[in-house]
Structures are given as C-alpha cells and as structure tokens.
Amino acid sequence: MKNEVTERREAAGQSQGELAESVGVTRQTINAIERERYDPSLELAFKLAEHFDCRIEDLFDPELDHESSE
C-alpha cells in the first residue's frame, strides 16, 4: 500500500529502528511497510498515525477507486 512513512520518518529525524521501537515492531517490518511490501494491521496503522500525529488516511493511500463509488 502506498504510504508516506518514509517521508514522515525522515522529517522526524528518526531511523527505521527508532520508529520500530516507538511503535513496538521490528525494524524489518518498518522497512517492509516503507517498501510497500507489507500492509500493516489496523492496530499498527493507528499506532503509526498516532506517532506521526496525523490521520491514517494521511499516512496510507489504499488507492481505492474513488470514482466508482460516486
């Protein structure tokens, strides 16, 4: 899933390991999320959003087909 984790983490001056420790996962999981190879659970998505003080939808873009629902 597309996301802004890398941008927000770097803006916060954090390493992947530091972010991982903050939200209680491994560095490998943060790496996988940033490379869009792993979609986090809702719980982890909430933790990340809370960590960056933003909404989940600001952090993750599920690339839904918005036009089809209109």
Partner: protein
C-alpha cells in the same frame, strides 16, 4: 535468569538478527551432529547432540523475547508464518487428493501394490489433515 544472558545476546548484535542467528545456528549444529553421528557410527552421541541443540533452540525461541526489551517477533512474522503454513497445507492437500484416492483404487483393483512405506506416508498425511481440522475448528471458534 535471562538478565544474565542479555549482555551475550547484545554482543551478538542484539535483537532480531541475533535471535535468528542463534535459532538457525543451533538447528544447524543439531542436524550436523546427528548426521555426523550416523557417518562415524556414533548414533547415540549424534542423537544427544541433536536433542540438546533442539531443546536449546526451543528454550531460546520461547525465552529470548523475555531476555530483551526489544520486539523480536511481531505481526509481520505472524502473518508470514500463517501464509507459509497455509501454503504448506495447500500443497500437501493438493498432492494427496490428486494421488492417494487413485492409488487406493488401483491397489484394490490389483493393478499395483501400495508398499508399507507409502502406507506410512498416507497415514502420516491423514493424521496431519485431522490435526489441521482440529486446529482449524479450535481457532475458528475463538475468532
């Protein structure tokens, strides 16, 4: 107890990599010990080496998370494990369902004979299927 091994774990690089190195390294030692025991005809020694290594691996597997404050296994590991388990069961099921019934019918018709080894494998796979069914039932009732 785990406080005493924490410095050692940290020296190994700490965290997840040290955990994985320990688990896979000890597993390798156990398997090599067992194999060496067979080769040099010291099977009892080889078996002891294997069992000790496996027990240590089990201790490390369950004890390491308590020996470090850092997260060693998380939701991604669980998801990878679940996917790998599902894939394994799927492959075994496909292989079994596509061969065993036909073999059984051919054996009953006298076209071929299922040997003792193959029967053992069939029983083992059947036991695995029952175990999977039982685990699935338990898990589905809890979720």
């Amino acid at each position: 107890m785990f406080d005493s091994v924490r410095p050692t774990l940290d020296r190994l690089g700490g965290r997840k990599q040290a955990y994985e190195r320990l688990v896979w390294g000890l597993t390798l030692v156990g398997c090599l010990g067992l194999f060496a025991g067979i080769v040099v005809d010291e099977r009892l020694v080889g078996t002891v080496v294997y069992l000790v290594a496996v027990w240590i691996v089990m201790g490390v597997t369950f004890g390491y998370p308590y020996a470090t404050d850092e997260t060693i296994l998380d939701e991604r590991d669980t998801r990878l494990h679940n996917r790998a388990s599902g894939l394994t069961i799927g492959i075994v099921a496909m292989a079994t369902l596509s061969t065993v019934p036909a073999l059984y019918v051919l054996d009953a018709g006298g076209y071929l004979t299922i040997g003792a080894t193959l029967w053992g494998a069939i029983y083992a796979v059947s036991a695995l299927a029952f175990l999977y069914g039982a685990c699935y039932t338990i898990v589905s009732r809890r979720n």
